[in-house]
């Protein structure tokens, strides 16, 4: 026993001594290698001789391929190789966001970073401070006009990717997700109702959908307004109608100070409205234990009459219901607010991911060139994005492009172009449908002409055609219908420490207030106090310190 013990301790000491060897053995310590290939200044000029570039891969769990293709060798890797002289490889890949973040953390901690990769804002900030990322100001010079336009539309991505005046990360431009109210049109028709435009009508429709057997099956099995206990993102627009913003790290300006959105007085009024609906039974009595997944199951099963969805909701989960029940139909409307105006949609445009290059990688501009190629193909090569296979299934091939740079504006432009084409009955070049949007346009056209009214054409039609969800997005753009987060700096230390506790608190009290476990009248101050005590006071001070420097 004693010998064994000595053996084990000896081994342990040896390994501890060896630890620094592992650390220095990493590839990053070798010193920056010199550039041995050259490239011209054009946005997609090739490298001579070709260079090899590694990246950390995020793969879709059920990726579609052309026959014979794989993650290692597919139409996109061949395009990068042929057009840019870039041979791509990935040391590892992940199939979920969590797995990607964990593996990336290990790669960072052990110094095994690939040449280019994407990273979340928190780790991005640490990497910049510790000098592990390459400055991208020179690389940015290679950006095509299309790419520059994207950053101009969304200046917050440049602010977030810049530290001390130097650009380190390029983020895709986030846009509104069209968080609006979706209503069962076929149920409205069956009951002789109109889509709700005021709070009173909204409550009226919820009652009718709950109690008047809108699906005509003779059973009391419908839910007027479907919500979940997870405080669904799309429900934010409902709350903002009253002036409440239960959104992670969302701040509003009030009297020269930033205040947290979820403790605004308007939040209390919105909760009262939901509480009243809960008491009537027009929201699901079990919503508290249901997650968004379970809510979507209910929707796909045809039990829900209204819910807070996104502009893409027809593509999921409404198409699932359409597949089961061809008679089902939905209409998107603005959430009504007590003022009678459509509720403003809260927007948080701060990026969730940055594309970056390792500090000693000699060709950081390859990131920009790859983005340029993606944008160029978007305009010229639709077959790189979606194709239809022999069985009529859609192949989503664009996920195979490792570096994408895009803007939500595409969808708005596509909707306008499709709406020009639909009255004509066919898609002509003068309608200006971008190649990357051609697939959706064709599907919508199939539905519009009545050639195919199954779930997929119906869903694209519902998004892009007149009366569809993109029109609501466009209207908000033209009519100042958005409310941006007043805070758009990097997440501060206090938020990193207390943010999760604050999110938990808001979610927990939201359910308790609506179910009546806590009284909105008498326990509201306790909620505010709990927010302050759990770290809210500290975070508020931190955010206001940032605000004063703006």
């Amino acid at each position: 026993m004693k010998t064994l013990f000595r053996l084990v301790t000896g081994f342990a000491v040896l390994l501890l001594l060896a630890a620094p060897v592992f650390a220095t053995g990493a590839d990053e310590e070798a010193g920056a290698p010199a550039r041995t290939s050259t490239t011209d200044e054009s946005p997609t000029g090739p490298y001579e001789p070709p260079i090899s570039v590694s990246y950390h891969a995020f793969h879709q769990p059920a990726q579609d391929f052309l026959e014979g293709d794989s993650f290692e060798d597919n139409l996109w890797t061949r395009a990068y190789s042929d057009e840019l002289g870039v041979e791509l490889s990935f040391p590892w890949s992940a199939q979920s966001g969590d797995a990607y973040r964990q593996r990336l953390n290990i790669a960072i901690a052990t110094g095994q970073l690939a040449d280019i990769f994407s990273v979340s804002p928190i780790i991005f900030g640490q990497l910049v401070e510790d000098g592990r990322l390459a400055p991208l100001d020179d690389a940015w010079e290679y950006m095509s006009d299309d790419g520059r336009a994207i950053m101009e539309w969304s200046p917050v991505t440049r602010i977030a990717g810049t530290r001390d005046g130097v650009l380190y990360g390029i983020a895709e431009a986030r846009g509104p997700e069209g968080k609006n109210l979706w209503v069962r049109q076929d149920w409205l028709d069956a009951l002789g109702l109109d889509a709700p435009q005021s709070v009173a009508e909204f409550i009226e429709v919820a009652r009718a959908f709950t109690f008047d057997d809108p699906d005509g099956n003779g059973q009391d099995d419908t839910i007027g307004f479907g919500i979940s206990g997870e405080l669904d993102d799309a429900l934010q627009t409902f709350f903002s109608g009253w002036g409440g913003y239960p959104i992670s790290n969302f701040w509003v300006e009030s009297g020269g100070q930033l205040e947290y959105g979820a403790i605004q007085p308007g939040m209390r009024e919105a909760l009262r409205a939901l509480r009243a609906m809960f008491e009537e039974g027009t929201v699901d009595p079990e919503f508290g234990v249901k997650g968004e997944g379970e809510l979507y199951d209910d929707i796909a099963a045809g039990r829900v009459g209204m819910y807070a969805g996104y502009f893409w909701s027809p593509l999921w989960p409404l198409n699932a219901l359409k597949g089961e029940d061809p008679e089902s139909d939905w209409v998107p409307v603005y959430f009504p607010s007590p003022s009678g105006e459509p509720a403003p949609e809260p927007l948080d445009l701060t990026p969730g991911e940055f594309w970056v290059a390792r500090a000693d990688f000699p060709y950081p501009e390859v990131l920009v060139k790859m983005m340029n190629l993606f944008l160029e193909y978007q305009d010229e090569q639709p077959e790189y994005f979606n194709q239809i296979d022999a069985n009529g299934e859609v192949l989503e091939l664009f996920h195979l492009a490792p570096v994408q740079y895009n803007t939500w504006r595409n969808n708005v432009d596509a909707a306008a172009a499709i709406q020009r084409a639909i009255p004509v009955g066919e898609i002509l070049p003068e309608h200006g449908v971008a190649p990357a949007s051609m697939f959706g346009a064709e599907q919508a056209m199939l539905y519009a002409t009545g050639a195919d009214t199954t779930a997929t054409p119906w869903a694209y039609h519902k998004v892009f055609a007149d009366g569809g969800s993109m029109n609501l997005v466009r209207w908000r753009m033209d009519n100042d219908g958005y409310l941006e987060n007043a805070f758009f700096g990097p997440p501060g230390d206090a938020w990193l420490r207390h943010g999760q506790a604050i999110n938990d608190l808001v979610e927990e009290w939201y359910v308790k207030f609506v179910t009546g476990e806590e009284s909105i009248d008498s326990d509201w101050d306790a909620y505010i106090d709990a927010f302050s005590n759990i770290g809210g006071a500290e975070v508020t001070a931190e955010v206001n310190a940032w605000f004063e420097n703006q």
Binding site: T110, E294, E508
Partner: protein, 336 residues
């Protein structure tokens, strides 16, 4: 690992039953056998140690080496500085933050309470079931029952979570429908702070009781049949036999399981709680592990995670050591 299945206390209880000569002669026989074995063990021991190497290696690699990471608990750890790189040491700040978290007391209380109930019932229920199974004379029936009650052990909580949400639903779940026929109003098992802990403990019992009986049944099978014979001669019925032969015969297994399970006093079962809880029941069901998961996942708080892990390990170490000490002292139980 040498167990002495017949301890002093058993020979005493056997003596009370009036078969002292038979029992004590058996004890002597065992001791003689042990003595002979020790003589035989002059044969070199090293092959046995060689056979231990794979197990020691695995434990060393997966349990001892990672202890290097414990220093993260005392650092402001940033991945960007590397696993072995220069990190800033901040002493006990992470622990201070942890203990001062407004939710910490609630979460700690929930964890202890849920884990205590699970340990207590998790020990009693399989013991009772094993004793009852042992009384079945029909081996076929016994095996069928054993197999059926093991089965839930092999289901993961991810799957069970989905199933339980459905069958425990107050409006459409089968459990509440049955309760409805009995005139009991719908119970919100997963959404009420009064019922959530009950739901956790009872589903855990349903899942693990069958598995837990295996060890007890094996231990019961190891009891010398002569003891039952002697007890029968002394006029002990089934119940007395259980009380004076079976239970004393497996007390060392009970002690072992109790000692081991006390180390789990801060593990209230992450998989289960995570798949069943929702914000409504944070008040009664949020445990240390789920809190760490939420806090750590969102903001890459590795140091805080390490601090919590270390805190749990220290508490477990203290509890395991002291319960082992007590078991040695009062039940004459030892591992080595």
């Amino acid at each position: 690992m040498v167990r002495e299945p017949v301890s002093d206390s058993e020979s005493k209880s056997g003596g009370r039953a009036g078969a002292s000569s038979l029992v004590s002669s058996q004890v002597e026989m065992r001791r003689e056998l042990d003595r002979r074995r020790r003589v035989r063990n002059k044969v070199p021991e090293w092959p046995l140690h060689v056979m231990l190497i794979p197990a020691v290696a695995v434990i060393f690699i997966y349990s001892y080496l990672p202890m290097y990471g414990l220093r993260m608990a005392f650092q402001d750890f940033r991945v960007s500085r590397g696993l072995f790189g220069e990190q800033e040491f901040i002493g006990l700040d992470n622990f201070r933050f942890l203990f001062r978290m407004p939710n910490f007391l609630r979460v700690m209380g929930n964890t202890l309470w849920i884990a205590f109930l699970k340990i207590a019932f998790g020990l009693i229920a399989p013991l009772v079931v094993a004793l009852l199974l042992n009384e079945l004379s029909n081996q076929g029936v016994k095996r069928v029952i054993q197999t059926v009650i093991y089965l839930p052990h092999f289901l993961s909580w991810v799957i069970l979570g989905g199933i339980l949400v459905t069958i425990l639903s107050p409006s459409s779940g089968i459990v509440n429908q049955v309760l409805g026929w009995l005139g009991i109003g719908p119970i919100f098992f997963l959404g009420s702070n009064d019922w959530f802990v009950f739901t956790l403990v009872s589903t855990e019992l349903w899942k693990s009781t069958g598995w837990g009986t295996i060890l007890f049944l094996a231990a019961i099978a190891g009891i010398d049949p002569n003891l039952y014979e002697a007890a029968t001669i002394d006029g002990a019925g089934r119940f007395k036999q259980t009380l004076h032969v079976t239970i004393p015969g497996i007390i060392h297994v009970i002690a072992l399981l109790l000692v081991l399970s006390l180390g789990d006093i801060l593990n209230a079962g992450f998989d289960q709680v995570f798949n069943l809880y929702s914000p409504v029941v944070y008040e009664s069901g949020d445990i240390i592990d789920t809190l760490v998961y939420r806090v750590g996942l969102l903001n890459a708080q590795f140091s805080l995670g390490a601090a919590i892990g270390m805190f749990k390990s220290v508490v477990s170490l203290i509890l395991i050591s002291s319960s082992y000490f007590l078991a040695t002292r009062y039940l004459n139980y030892r591992i080595f």
